[in-house]
């Protein structure tokens, strides 16, 4: 009897651990951002300070040589990627690209808008009818996430897949 109880307890514990891991994985943990227009360490510091102001940001690591920043998010935080882009602009610079990895615990059909742990829904461009499972790298599409000319090229593609562009949503593609 006692043995059985222990057994059940162990099973429950393992199940809980797995669930919590899955819960932990099913969110954005880090993002990578390429910053344009900066060359000095003072500028890089300004970018970092601006990003650190965001409540959902735990840490930022800037590599000045490549002008790439790694953003680490707080656990279970709701992320605003638009605020990340705004922070870069506030510091006086521009976003070259923004990528974030998301671990999908279930498989998703990308023909729909998907809610993730961010403000707004995600529409997958160029990935229609593809199933998302496991860790997927999402590259953000939008005028705040890339140089203007590059965005203009994507615009038609976004409209084709996701319909009229809604400011509240995110448009991403997977590699």
């Amino acid at each position: 009897m006692i043995k059985n109880r222990l057994h059940i307890k162990t099973i429950i514990t393992i199940a809980l651990v797995i669930m919590s891991i899955q819960k932990g994985l099913a969110q954005f943990i880090t993002a990578e951002i390429g910053v344009d227009g900066l060359t000095c360490s003072q500028c890089s510091r300004s970018v970092e300070m601006s990003l650190l102001k965001l409540v959902f940001v735990k840490d930022v690591q800037m590599d000045l040589e490549s002008t790439i920043g790694k953003i680490i998010f707080k656990a279970d935080a709701k992320i605003s990627f638009k605020k990340i882009a705004k922070a870069i602009n506030d510091a006086g610079f521009s976003v070259r690209y923004l990528k974030a990895a998301y671990s999908f615990k279930n498989s998703y059909d990308t023909s729909n808008f998907i809610p993730l742990n961010a403000f707004g829904l995600f529409c997958f461009v160029n990935t229609k009818n593809k199933e998302l499972n496991g860790e997927v790298l999402l590259t953000f599409l939008g005028k705040e996430f890339m140089p203007k000319q590059q965005y203009n090229k994507w615009k038609i593609e976004i409209k084709k897949t996701c319909g009229e562009i809604n400011k509240e949503n995110y448009y991403v593609y997977t590699q």
Binding site: L38, T39, Q42, M49, S50, D59, M62, K70, R96
Partner: protein, 355 residues
């Protein structure tokens, strides 16, 4: 007068040679893609102070005048009002001017029906007490941003205003140091592979000064000076000599700059007893133009605390509002609102990681 003119014109050829030599060195350096910066000590780049961030700069300018030193102590506060809009306010204290204009500023002779106005009492090397000059305001709006990896081309418009109304007795207007008035202009800054160059073109519309100039008998004569309107044209180059490779924010950065500061201005008009006296026969009150050369060295500690040192020399003609060399020392830092969060973190290193 002769002595004064000799004093003014001395050593220009030597400095001109020095300037040309420096320019050649610079061009040869830049042709090898030396890393550069745009944090110019004298000219503002088209870039801005980050939004919501305060900056403080304290600076000191001095030059020898005959056997004394003229000095200016100034304090500047800057603020990033918007990502594209920076505002600044500067206050200064100087010993450049007296309470009144120099005595006998304008006199005249009669020859038949003709009256000739001239200045025969140019004062140099007179000791003046320190005076609070006033407030100088500056706003800059970046209207064009072309950012790419490790390079940018940006353009900004600026406007400035000053209530500095000291007894300035030269035609050349200087909004922060000497004259009331306003100005404006355009800035274009280009940066590629750490090479930086910036051009500033603008104008100054000075306001007149009304005060007194004692005559020979010591009687204070009401005197009005209308300074000349001016056009400014400045060109700045800069490059980073240390570090060769960035590893962390604690590395001290050493930058070298060369800035060309040019101005062209109209003659001043002096009014006494209802007469507008134009032209005044002295280079100080006549129209003029010049280009100065300001080589500078800059150290930035902890990616924030900035120390600038420079020497200003005349390259083409000269300014009559100052003597040379003009020494400049400035310190500056940004005050980030979330600096505490930054400090609480362990000593952070910039880490390279694979994409």
């Amino acid at each position: 007068m002769l002595l004064k003119n000799n004093l003014i014109r001395q050593s220009i050829p030597l400095q001109k040679q020095f300037g040309v030599a420096l320019l050649i060195i610079l061009i040869s350096l830049f042709s090898r893609t030396i890393e550069a910066q745009e944090l110019f000590p004298h000219n503002e780049p088209a870039s801005n102070v980050p939004k919501g961030v305060f900056g403080i700069r304290a600076f000191y300018k001095t030059y020898p005048e005959v056997d004394l030193m003229r000095k200016m102590y100034a304090l500047r506060v800057m603020y990033g009002l918007l990502p594209r809009l920076t505002v600044m306010g500067t206050i200064s204290v100087t010993n450049h001017h007296g309470k009144d204009l120099p005595p006998d500023l304008v006199t005249h002779t009669h020859s038949g029906n003709q009256t000739t106005f001239f200045t025969n009492n140019i004062q140099r090397g007179i000791k003046y007490p320190y005076q609070f000059s006033g407030v100088y305001l500056y706003a800059k709006y970046r209207f064009l941003t072309f950012d790419r990896k490790n390079k940018h081309f940006r353009m900004a418009l600026y406007a400035d205003w000053s209530n500095v109304g000291v007894a300035h007795d030269e035609a050349e207007p200087n909004l922060m140091d000497d004259t009331k008035g306003y100005g404006g202009g355009i800035i274009a800054t280009y940066l590629k592979n750490h090479f930086a160059v910036s051009f500033t073109g603008g104008f100054i519309k000075p306001k007149y000064y009304e005060g007194y100039s004692p005559d020979i008998g010591g009687q204070k004569v009401p005197t009005k000076i209308e300074y000349g309107r001016a056009v400014i044209y400045n060109l700045s180059f800069g490059y980073l000599i240390y570090p060769k490779k960035y590893t962390d924010y604690n590395q001290t950065n050493i930058n070298l700059y060369v800035e060309f500061i040019g101005k062209s201005f109209e003659a001043a008009k002096v009014t006494q007893y209802g007469f507008i006296n134009v032209p005044i026969q002295t280079p100080l009150l006549e129209k003029g133009n010049y280009i100065e050369l300001h080589p500078s060295a800059q150290a930035i500690f902890d990616s924030n605390f900035r120390v600038d040192i420079s020497v200003g020399l005349p390259l083409i003609k000269r300014s009559f509002a100052r003597f040379y060399p003009v020494y400049y020392i400035g310190i500056q830092r940004y005050l980030f609102p979330n600096a505490k969060k930054m400090r609480n973190r362990s000593k952070m290193k910039m880490q390279k990681y694979n994409e």
